[in-house]
């Protein structure tokens, strides 16, 4: 272990991180000293209460999600995915979408898992269908939806149906129309992405830089020793926690700002216009970037909007939002994300509207 000389400390990112951490904590206590002046300002009171509320509410779900994501990373053997999926796209896409029910995580855990599926040889359209469906139809999200909409079990069913429908349609469209170059590139990137676990870290964290042609050795088997698996588990969970947690907090800040600074009258005005309300909540879902476990509670806080437009919010949110697009761009490439996101947005909105007119 190298001791940090002054010159090295300036260059060393870890030392810089430690200094930054200390500064943040010191600033916290400084903030405490001026708290009296701050807390008399009503907007500060309101914003901070709502911000902390969303963070605290969503955090246990996020921890659950990254825990299961870590288990999947550590325990699923190589080759299992290919053996389980049907060969044709027509069948593998719906199968993979429905398989999403087993992954109780927010969309942040489904992205690295889907990346690993593609890297293991699963067909891209199936992996993408899984990526879209898993955050919306897993048990944790469905339970959260039922809790947030007490007395309305049809919302849970509608969310399930609309989300699976949208995931399957996107998967089929991708199988039919996506160019091989795009898929091959996505394959290369996800293979290069590696595990993020135990010593083979090859982090590509959503900043879009290109690793074309840089095949990372991906032929290694899972380390089957207990220590290896535990290490993979914690590394994957920590990785997902840092990514998803950061974006969750960002979404919480946006939600708090929305509730604090936008007079409810503005929302009420839009709420009454059927088509405008749908567009508004679809846009809100994209901008709000809250994890799927928490978005049901946000939707529940907008009772002035129709159930249809709120279903649109619930179906669009886990599939395309600003943090998710960033994660997808980082994992699969910017060109991929630019095509994938708008396609998903349109399909998800239409699927939700169609399902709402049938079930709600």
């Amino acid at each position: 272990m190298a001791l940090a000389t002054p010159a090295r400390a300036r260059r060393d990112p870890q030392t810089a991180a430690a200094v930054l951490l200390a500064a943040v904590l010191l600033a916290t206590f400084g903030l405490n000293l001026v708290n009296d002046a701050l807390s008399t300002r009503p907007t500060v009171q309101l914003w901070t209460t709502m911000f902390v509320a969303v963070c605290v509410q969503a955090m246990p779900f996020l921890v659950l999600g990254v825990t299961v994501g870590g288990l999947v990373e550590a325990l699923v053997p190589d080759g299992l995915i290919q053996r389980l999926l049907p060969r044709s796209a027509a069948l593998s896409v719906p199968t993979a979408a429905l398989a999403g029910v087993v992954l109780p995580g927010c969309e942040c855990s489904s992205v690295p898992v889907a990346g690993r599926l593609v890297g293991r040889g699963a067909p891209a359209p199936a992996a993408l269908a899984f990526l879209l469906a898993a955050p919306a139809i897993n048990p944790v999200v469905l339970v959260a939806t039922s809790v947030a909409f007490p007395g309305r079990p049809e919302m849970v069913l509608a969310r399930f149906v609309a989300s699976v429908g949208a995931a399957v349609v996107v998967g089929w469209l991708w199988a039919r129309f996506a160019s091989d170059a795009l898929t091959a590139r996505a394959l290369r990137r996800s293979a290069a992405m590696g595990d993020g676990a135990g010593g083979h870290a090859h982090a590509d964290h959503g900043h879009g830089h290109d690793h074309a042609g840089h095949e990372h050795g991906h032929d290694h088997d899972h380390d089957t020793t207990g220590g290896g698996r535990l290490s993979r588990f914690f590394a994957a969970a920590q990785h997902d926690l840092l990514h998803a947690g950061g974006f969750l907090v960002f979404g919480a800040a946006l939600a708090a700002s929305l509730h604090t600074f936008v007079p409810r009258r503005v929302l009420d005005r839009v709420a009454d216009h059927g088509l405008l309300a749908i567009v508004a909540l679809a846009a809100l879902a994209v901008l709000l970037a809250v994890c799927s476990e928490a978005d049901a509670f946000i939707a529940a806080s907008l009772p002035q909007f129709s159930l249809t437009s709120r279903l649109v919010f619930l179906v669009v949110g886990p599939m395309v939002d600003i943090k998710l697009v960033a994660l997808q761009a980082g994992t699969f490439g910017r060109r991929f994300a630019v095509r994938f996101a708008p396609l998903t947005l349109v399909v998800a909105t239409l699927s939700a509207v169609a399902t709402a007119s049938w079930l709600l």
Partner: protein
């Protein structure tokens, strides 16, 4: 990759440690009820300990090399810690009401609510249920009730004030207010955000009024209830 220093471990461990510590601290002090439902404590406790376990692993892990750079967005994870430690937010009160013109009421049909016993003994209920009952039928007309909420004075000089509660489906971010307006029976208007239990009856009125008018026979200052927020009560 250069070898992983103990400083790396500390920094990496700090993130789950601080978040887990925050969750556990909020449960232990009871402050979590300012933000989420009181029933959330098992979830918060469990995930708090899970995060501490992750932090412990980071410190103890024998990985020889660093695990790749931390994404810049991860620093946001510290924001809730900073806010709670620095600003110590409280539950929503009179100030929050100013920002909301709408009230949190669903529309039930007349007859949805069960009749109440009419033996003259005041019945304790949530403000939400009381308001819902006034909107859907006349099940509370002539029935003495006991309600608990915090005071929001009306314009000075009118002598009236509202008793308000926030209802939440899940957390404070979806909180929406319900209120009654006390129009008689109070010697003086208590200060804003005072928690009171009022006993009295509905003043039968034009149903279009936003907050049902209430004639109090008793206004008692009380401690803030264990949970400042009301749960949503549905008709049977």
């Amino acid at each position: 990759m250069r070898p992983r220093s103990s400083l790396d471990r500390v920094v990496a461990a700090a993130f789950p440690l601080l978040i887990g510590g925050l969750l556990l601290r909020l449960v232990v002090t009871g402050h979590y009820r300012n933000f989420v439902k009181a029933s959330m404590w098992p979830w918060l406790t469990l995930s708090g300990f899970a995060l501490l376990a992750a932090a412990a692993w980071e410190l103890a892990s024998s990985r020889a090399t660093g695990a790749g750079h931390r994404p810049r967005v991860a620093w946001l994870l510290l924001a809730p810690v900073v806010v709670v430690l620095g600003v110590a937010p409280t539950s929503l009160g009179a100030v929050a009401l100013e920002r909301t013109s709408a009230r949190a009421t669903r529309v039930y049909e007349d007859g949805s609510w069960a009749k109440l016993p009419a033996d003259g003994v005041p019945i304790a209920m949530t403000i939400g249920e009381f308001v819902e009952r006034t909107y859907a039928g006349d099940t509370v007309t002539g029935v003495p009730v006991r309600l608990t909420g915090f005071v929001v004075p009306d314009d000075p000089g009118t002598g009236t004030f509202r008793v308000v509660r926030f209802r939440i489906a899940c957390c404070a971010a979806d909180a929406a207010p319900v209120a009654v307006q006390v129009v008689s029976g109070a010697a003086e208007v208590p200060p804003a955000d005072t928690w009171v239990t009022i006993t009295g009856e509905l003043v039968p009125d034009d149903p279009a009024v936003l907050d049902p008018r209430f004639a109090a026979t008793a206004v008692e200052v009380v401690e803030q209830p264990v949970s400042p927020y009301e749960a949503i009560v549905l008709p049977e």
